[in-house]
Amino acid sequence: MLKNYIKIAWAVLQRRKFFTFISLFGISFTLMVLMVVTSLYDHAFGPQMPERESDKLLFVNNMREQFKEGYTNSSPPSYYFLNRFVRPLKTPENVSINSIFMPVNSYVNNKKLTLDQKHTDAAFWDILEFNFVEGRPFSAQEVNNASRVAVINQNTRKNYFGDKEAIGQTIEVDQVKYKVVGVVEDVPVLRLHSYADVWVPITLKSQDFKRTGLKGTYFATIKAKKASDVPKIKDEFASMMLQVNKNSKPEGVQEVFSFADDIFGTFARSLMGGGKTDKSGLLYGILAFAAFLFMLLPTINLVNINISRIMERSSEIGVRKAFGASSATIIGQFIVENIFLTLLGGMLGFLISAGVLEMINDSGILAYVNLGLNLRVFAWGLLLCLIFGLVSGVYPAFKMSRLNAVEALKGGSK
């Protein structure tokens, strides 16, 4: 019976190429977009190297000053602010201060390379889990001594040294010579709190340390002892900010804002603008709603297609009834057909997603990105499609199965 249903489903799909194309395209395209978006999401916000323990990590990347005249001005915080107020926080296990990455020039065999350079402390290497391919991170002592040492990523290593030994060699970046002590796996640029091509000790920029303004070019990466400490850290951070507002506000500023957020939180806050509340929930809500709408469209499309597809086959329904199909059997047939179509679309969507992700990886639009298929998301997407397939198939099938056999036979004569 099932085999026969699938046989006729297959025949119908083949005969009605246009309908088939539209439905399959709808399903697989939707799944594909869902897969690519979630893969990007995972890539940007999920637990990934080097921010693997993402539920324990918080980032401070913004300092917003609200002036008395009403306008606001925001930029990354200063070393002074992070060192003076954030590093001494008591709840975190560890706090790292690191500069934002800056593009700098370096020359290799007269070839110009633009490298992204980041200045970090030693805690940076403790908090984050880089994959060291060769060598080691620089130590607290090397940071204290402002040693000219560097950790580079694999890509830079390849460009600079090719197949030759890298550890212990010097590289010249921005007219300064550094000794390479370690090589790490490439970090995707979306991890903008950790990403760089070359990491060097923060003390090599000590001229920045003396400036006492709140705004600057630094980030802090905070690690909690355990995930449940995160809210406590946020609380401590907020009360610290109260003190800053009381005692350390610059001239003419009414209030200063800074927050410790997880990766998604920092993104939500910068996307959704000011205020003191965490915007993650709102952004999640908006994203979920958008995804829902996005799935809704192909569903409606599918329902419509199914209705006209089934209407067109009213004569077939009449014939089947005349030869012994009950209404329940007819509904079964159309549901099987629909599930078959959905599964086919799902499989196609899976292949297309894999292809598109591969293309994004290869295209170099995003530096060092390595997107993969998230199977969990795929399973959910497929399940949703199946439910939609069921819903979109059941209603028209039910409607048609109720059709009186005589009417159905009149419906189309062939």
Binding site: E316, A322, S413
Partner: protein, 230 residues
């Protein structure tokens, strides 16, 4: 084997009321070849659909083998149609997405029959209508007469006790019509299949055993066709 008692069929819409059948009493016996004639719109198709349990009368009773079917559920009616009745329609009503042999298998699909057995019986039925050479074709690759023969094979495949044919030759020219008629006659005579056929063709009707004439939803004549009349 089919008994119609006081059958009434009234189509009601908001504005008009059409009486398609008006107190029809009719008994079809096993082995008969009955033809039904009458002007267009007199209720012949309606009658056949009610006999075939495709349609419900608005009044009266239908009994199959002495069993009234009024209270039967949808699935029970479907089962009766499947096992006892084979339909042949004027416009063939083949499923154009299925091959000839798959079309013929249709009644067996709704029974507990293995795939190989289904195929065997479908091929046998096609053989009876002389279409063994066209089993893999699709309906749109066949002529009208061939399509109607496929439809007859489909009606035969389930080995029904009665075949209900609504103008089976209505869309065919006289040569093909004769062919179809010959097949039906042979079925009736050699296999003893009961047949009820609606037709507009007096000559065909005269080849059957019994001729019922309809006018305006009522039987106006019911007579045995006498050999001498041919």
């Amino acid at each position: 084997m089919i008994q119609l008692t006081d059958i009434e069929k009234v189509y009601r819409t908001k504005t008009i009321e059409t009486v398609a059948l008006n107190r029809v009493n009719l008994q079809i016996e096993r082995g008969e070849f009955v033809s039904i004639m009458g002007p267009s719109g007199c209720g012949k198709s309606t009658l056949l659909n009610i006999m075939g349990l495709l349609d419900e009368p608005t009044g009266g009773y239908v009994a199959i083998d002495g069993q009234p079917v009024k209270t039967h559920s949808d699935s029970k009616l479907a089962k009766l149609r499947n096992e006892k009745i084979g339909f042949v329609f004027q416009s063939y009503h083949l499923i154009h997405d299925l091959s000839v042999v798959d079309n013929v298998e249709l009644p067996l699909l709704y029974r507990n029959v293995s795939a190989s057995d289904r195929r065997k019986r479908a091929l046998e039925a096609l053989e009876k209508v002389g279409l063994s050479a066209r089993t893999k074709h699709f309906p749109n690759q066949l002529s009208g007469g061939q399509r109607q023969r496929v439809a007859i094979a489909r009606a035969l495949a389930g080995n029904p006790e009665i075949i209900l044919a609504d103008e089976p030759t209505g869309n065919l020219d006289s040569v093909m019509g004769e062919e179809i008629m010959d097949i039906l006659l042979r079925l009736n005579q050699e296999e003893g299949t009961t047949i009820v056929m609606v037709t507009h063709d007096e000559n065909m009707a005269l080849k059957t055993n019994r001729l019922i004439r309809f006018f305006d939803g009522q039987q106006v004549a019911d007579s045995m066709v006498i050999e001498a009349q041919i």
